[in-house]
Symmetry: C2
Subunit: 376 residues, 2 copies
């Protein structure tokens, strides 16, 4: 259940109530694709860095270790020892981006595993069954994520099929939640808006999926190659047709600047692999912009990554130490960097929420949208 607490322009402060606790929005979800966070972070580290929602991947987990194994072990929460909300994506995006030899039919997608080439099939029912076995808090509908740019005719046919798939997802999820051995009988379902970069298709799609009265609505198929301005325009066009009383989730986005711009356009949920991936390359987010820890000037620098940051890493370790760990090839370099970058994201969302609470979001955005994009 979503409570809209305050708005400022299109930006929204809210609370999303789930069986695993309340999610304060806007929120950034921390990605643990294979039930673990890159850089060696455990579920305990996630609490340390202020993570509200962990995100895992249906496609990866069904291939390895297998969703039935996770179900038999009591579900994903127990498996990874995490008691707060988990969102699982539907596997749709990974089937289209990772799997090989895809063949899309009305019933679903035939593909080969990127791990061992096994021939597999996933349709709406399979995706719902897997997510039910995982027992996540929020399941995502199975959709086709069309590559950008896409032909208009293809994008139209695809979004219409995605709507038909959504109906099947809803029916299947209802059955699964009602079954006696559901890991999480209160599993929620978010629909996903598609339509490539065509505003009319996006709007038509959002109107159609809004009718199903789902727990939340995602915007998918963006940040996949189109210009950033196009992404912002699509959000602006489609936002008026997204139910006001449901959270909106912009999938796979993005930089701190992208997040500020999208919050300003009415988005509540985010996720992205970028903070962890950048961390592993030594690109660390700070309140003054992005820092490259490999830079020789940090060799003797005993200040923390970001003097304004309150994270475990900034409270305890210096730039000089972290730079040394990178140069020496120590795994601890990655762990500390990922911890810091994810904390930075979670903390940015907290500041955004504070500014919405105080009614100062416009100023906060104005000030940070320039600084946070800088390389220092």
């Amino acid at each position: 259940m979503f409570k809209l607490l305050k708005t400022q322009g299109c930006a929204r402060l809210g609370e999303f109530h789930t069986v695993h606790g309340v999610i304060k929005t806007p929120v950034f979800m921390n990605v643990g694709t294979q039930a673990a966070i890159k850089g060696g972070l455990s579920s305990f580290d996630l609490k340390e860095i202020g993570c509200q929602v962990e995100l895992s991947n249906t496609y990866h987990l069904t291939l390895r270790p297998g969703d039935e194994i996770i179900r038999d072990l009591g579900g994903l929460h127990k498996f990874m020892n995490w008691d707060r909300p988990i969102l699982t994506d539907s596997g749709g995006f990974q089937v289209f981006s990772l799997a090989k030899l895809r063949n899309i039919k009305e019933e679903g997608v035939y593909f080969s595993s990127h791990i061992d080439g096994r021939k597999l099939f996933m349709g709406p029912e399979e995706s719902m069954t897997i997510q039910s076995n995982l027992g996540s808090t929020i399941a995502m509908a199975f959709d086709e994520c069309v590559e950008n740019p896409a032909e208009y005719s293809y994008a139209k046919a695809s979004h219409e099929r995605t709507v038909r798939w959504l109906e099947r997802c809803i029916k299947k999820m209802r059955e699964l939640n009602a079954s006696d051995n559901a890991v999480n009988p209160h599993q929620m379902l978010f629909g996903i808006n598609q339509g490539a970069t065509y505003a009319d298709l996006r709007i038509e799609n959002m109107k159609r999926i809004a009718e199903f009265d789902l727990d939340g609505y995602a915007i998918g198929g963006l940040a996949v190659g189109e210009p950033t301005e196009t992404m912002y325009e699509i959000i602006e066009k489609v936002e008026p047709f997204a139910p006001k009383d449901r959270p909106r989730y912009l999938m796979g986005v993005g930089t701190p600047v992208n997040i500020l711009e999208a919050v300003d356009r009415g988005v509540d949920f985010f996720d992205c692999v970028m903070p962890a991936r950048n961390a592993r390359h030594g690109h660390l987010f700070t309140s003054q912009g992005v820092l490259n820890i490999h830079n020789a000037k940090y060799m003797k620098d005993d200040s923390p990554i970001d003097p304004e940051c309150g994270c475990h890493v900034c409270r305890n370790f210096s730039r000089a130490y972290i730079r040394h760990l990178f140069k020496a090839g120590e795994m601890l370099a990655l762990r500390l960097s990922v911890m810091h970058n994810l904390y930075f994201y979670n903390s940015l969302m907290e500041k955004i929420r504070e500014s919405l609470e105080k009614g100062t979001f416009a100023d906060f955005k104005e000030k940070n949208v320039y600084i946070l994009g800088q390389r220092i």
Copy 2:
């Protein structure tokens, strides 16, 4: 200052008082070669797993980031944020095992860096200066670690040179500790017994170095290829000549069984990369023997690595989860495994100390010397 609290046969329960706190012996030192523990463990994890002494490497740290940089940053304790004792080895062993194009002279060793081929020199004075810059609690004397098997004549000439080097180490360390800008003016020095596998040379060497009244005495040059029984014999032969009122440190040893046998022969300090290295290969120590987590039988096993273990990993994660992390190539697999194995070692030492306290060490050893060597 070493306090011998109790003995049982040759086995000893003691306390070693240092400027960074008291070390309860017998003790296993946790190896952080490059000022970080393999598997992404930080100094906070070291506290979590009950580490008393961290061990870092002079050779590695002088090459990278450079001991003068660490000195300028306040020493190794501050650099890695660890306030308990640190032992640094002298660099001798690494110069002989890692460096290239070695040329051993009376003044010291000329060699090339294994990282970039740079031509370098290290003698007793250089080793002491580097360790003084690092500011460790305990410095090790600079020695030649002779390969086994060695010619008698070579082993004899080498141990005699090592004694001459020790005199120079003592003189230099005294100067460094007295200097105004010593990072740790209370730095202690351990001598190292050498003499290859020749009992007469080992004994002669121990008698000679015992005269210097050092803070502790190590047995070096063992566990480098000789049969295990030879190692035990050497310890037995040399032990009566090691000062009773000083701790004895068996360098680079070993398996849990090796440790039990060596404690039984009067050894107080240990270090070894094996628990961390084995962990990275999925070989996990348990109270019932060594377990290979890759084994398919653990796929759905929701019990902890070792049901009798009280570590963070065993309290919170299952064999099935850790096996999955290995199969999925997640760094967290390594971190959790290293944490567990190091905790196992630290906890084994604690149990050894408890049994010495109670006078039941012989029974404890008898029972575990078989079990701990098993593969389950």
